[in-house]
Symmetry: C2
Subunit: 396 residues, 2 copies
């Protein structure tokens, strides 16, 4: 009796989530320490100390009715002002609360903005490899996903190919830098090129093309990689953010949309996001978490553990003959599958209690994703298993 | 550039939310004490004392990674077990965690279940007057809303009329008792009749018809009114719940779906709700609030203030010549508009700083809703204004 669409969806459900559940099952059989679960982007780094203290302070200092009550569907004024202030301080912008819609994580925010923008059949361009959920989010509102093929080994999308895929029906382009699953950070040169491409397409078709920048990994960058501030490069940029990674709060579902005044039909777009937040059943981002963001807006987790994991993994896998993209941000390593069939490779890896996610889930066959936001013990412990896997794959 | 559908939606946006925003605007002009905002179901009663204490205890006693981290999309096992336990203790059922999906409030839960069930063009039957958002939730998934006309003065739906509206395309019927906006509690006699009607239709059409029971007001009943447990009457019942009212946590967005094993295609339905939770962008219900529910699952707010407000209002308005439905539950009073045009009546009421919501917003013209989940001062203070309004309307 369930919807035909959902029937299919269940059958091809998230490989990431499936691996996550599988990991819990294997841990019960073999013991947690003998299962190396690299499937899910569930941060292992604790939130900054101020998070739990702030929660207790907020509970003590805020009237209960205000703290747990309804507010404008876009969120508390004070929280939205704090988020705007973060941008103004960091990038010299002049945003106000009117530019910010608090959302149920980045996933909620993307749904809200796509609901706001898409007519049946409108096209949304994504760059392979991409977070597989984009496909579902776009489909939720009758949109059509248009994939720009992966461009290894840099994984910077080919702009000539991109330009050919922009049509009169293109409503938005989604970028995600630092990237899940590659860890690539788009540099200024690439982004300048992308923005020129979009500008030409806007002129050609006489339509606005929104650049939706999904930035949950904005604060997680290594070495001298720099995350560009897209609204300064392109007027029609909408930023989606989540505190899931930067404050290690993925279960709390708190994030925002930043919509600059420069966006085409700004007023209508903001009004639409406000209504979409309500009618999609979010109603508003969780109120206590909004208050928390207000207090911790400039905080981030210590990313040293991720950096350490990255170094151990990349050095270790290199010695074992694996090829991968060198990550500049996020906490994912995108490794080339030694055999063509990445799903089969994941199946073999699972025999060694190594849980990886096939690149096919990200629209990019022939690769697998390792989420290294795990404990150092897991990374170190996994190396003997990776060695066995490398031998099995005839890499060493 | 925004979606055509959303353009319309913004224009006809929620009258309730509009009044809520208007109330805040008027309060700035006339002072909060001189504006009588009966627009929104935002509880004025504080959460039970245990709520804030539990939040602090949870923060102190739970590992941060678990507390703020991802879990199964359906929620923490322990929370779902606690909710199942609540039902088992209260109704002698044998539910387990598999029967419970934690949701982002009841609004999130309804979206999840409708996404799971509806194919384009499937019909969902609602009884006028109904919570206006049902229309949007159904429309989100291509469903068609089918309204059973209001049946004053009891506001128990006419079952003969209902039966004629059940077709081969009927996928679900939504009931809401205690009812928003009438305060009516459906008695066993009516529900037995409804269930027989549904059973006949299921047999006639050879399809399951799910009865979605939206129960955010389950714990708010007055006198000897009794809220029936629908799963004991009808196998295909799905219960949607929110802690927004019973624990006064509307901003926190926490609730659940209860899906008994007796539901047709139970396994698939549960799997579908799990996936829908993920792909609609909820991902999971806020994790800290799940932990809170686990500790406070048997608690409810003190509803005496609502009962007192109801008594003051009903006695006062009766004397002034207003007609209304006597509420048995929830915290709404559904008052007959002294003139045919309920929107015009609300406009006139606003001249006296009385903020009411037109019945048209609930699919029932000629009535207005008073949300009396406000402070006693607001209710008492409003009486002189209601008196002026009654004079203006020539009631006294």
């Amino acid at each position: 009796m369930i919807s035909q669409k959902m029937k299919k969806m269940i059958a091809t459900s998230s490989a990431i989530r499936e691996m996550f559940e599988e990991g819990k099952r294997l841990a019960e059989i073999y013991g947690k320490e003998n299962v190396f679960d690299f499937s899910l982007g569930n941060p292992s780094v604790k939130p900054p100390q101020s998070v739990n203290q702030s929660i207790k302070d907020i509970v003590d200092e805020t009237s209960e009715i205000e703290l747990h009550g309804y507010m404008n569907n876009s969120g508390f004024s004070s929280t939205r002002a704090a988020v705007a202030g973060y941008f103004n301080k960091r990038y010299g912008t002049t945003y106000g609360e009117k530019n910010v819609v608090m959302t149920v994580g980045a996933a909620g925010g993307l749904n809200v903005v796509l609901k706001s923008l898409l007519n049946e059949g409108d096209e949304v361009v994504v760059f392979c490899p991409y977070f597989g959920e984009y496909r579902n989010y776009i489909d939720n509102y009758g949109g059509k996903i248009v994939e720009v093929p992966a461009n290894p080994p840099t994984f910077l999308p080919d702009l000539d190919v991109t330009e050919k895929l922009l049509t009169s029906k293109t409503k938005a382009v989604i970028v995600n830098s630092p990237n899940n699953p590659t860890g690539v950070v788009y540099d200024k040169e690439f982004l300048t090129g992308l923005v020129s491409t979009l500008d030409r397409a806007q002129k050609k078709w006489g339509n606005a093309i929104y650049l939706i920048s999904d930035e949950p990994y904005r604060e997680i960058v290594y070495g001298d990689a720099k995350v560009e501030f897209l609204p300064s490069l392109y007027d029609n940029t909408i930023v989606g953010y989540s505190y899931s990674k930067s404050l290690s709060l993925p279960g709390e579902r708190i994030g925002y949309l930043l919509i600059p005044d420069t966006c085409t039909d700004f007023e209508e777009l903001i009004a639409s996001c406000n209504v979409a937040t309500r009618i999609l059943g979010f109603v508003n981002a969780p109120s206590l978490q909004q208050k928390l963001v207000e207090r911790c807006v400039e905080e981030t987790c210590d990313i040293t553990p991720y950096s350490d994991n990255k170094n151990i993994l990349t050095e270790g896998l290199k010695k074992l003959g694996f090829e991968y993209v060198n990550p500049q941000g996020a906490f994912y390593l995108f490794v080339k599958s030694p055999i063509e069939d990445d799903k089969e490779f994941c199946r073999i890896a699972k025999e060694y209690n190594l849980l990886l996610v096939p690149g096919s889930s990200f629209g990019c066959k022939g690769y697998v994703r390792i989420a290294y936001c795990v404990s150092k013990d897991t990374v170190v412990g996994s190396m003997t298993q990776f060695e066995k896997l490398a031998k099995r794959m005839n890499l060493i």
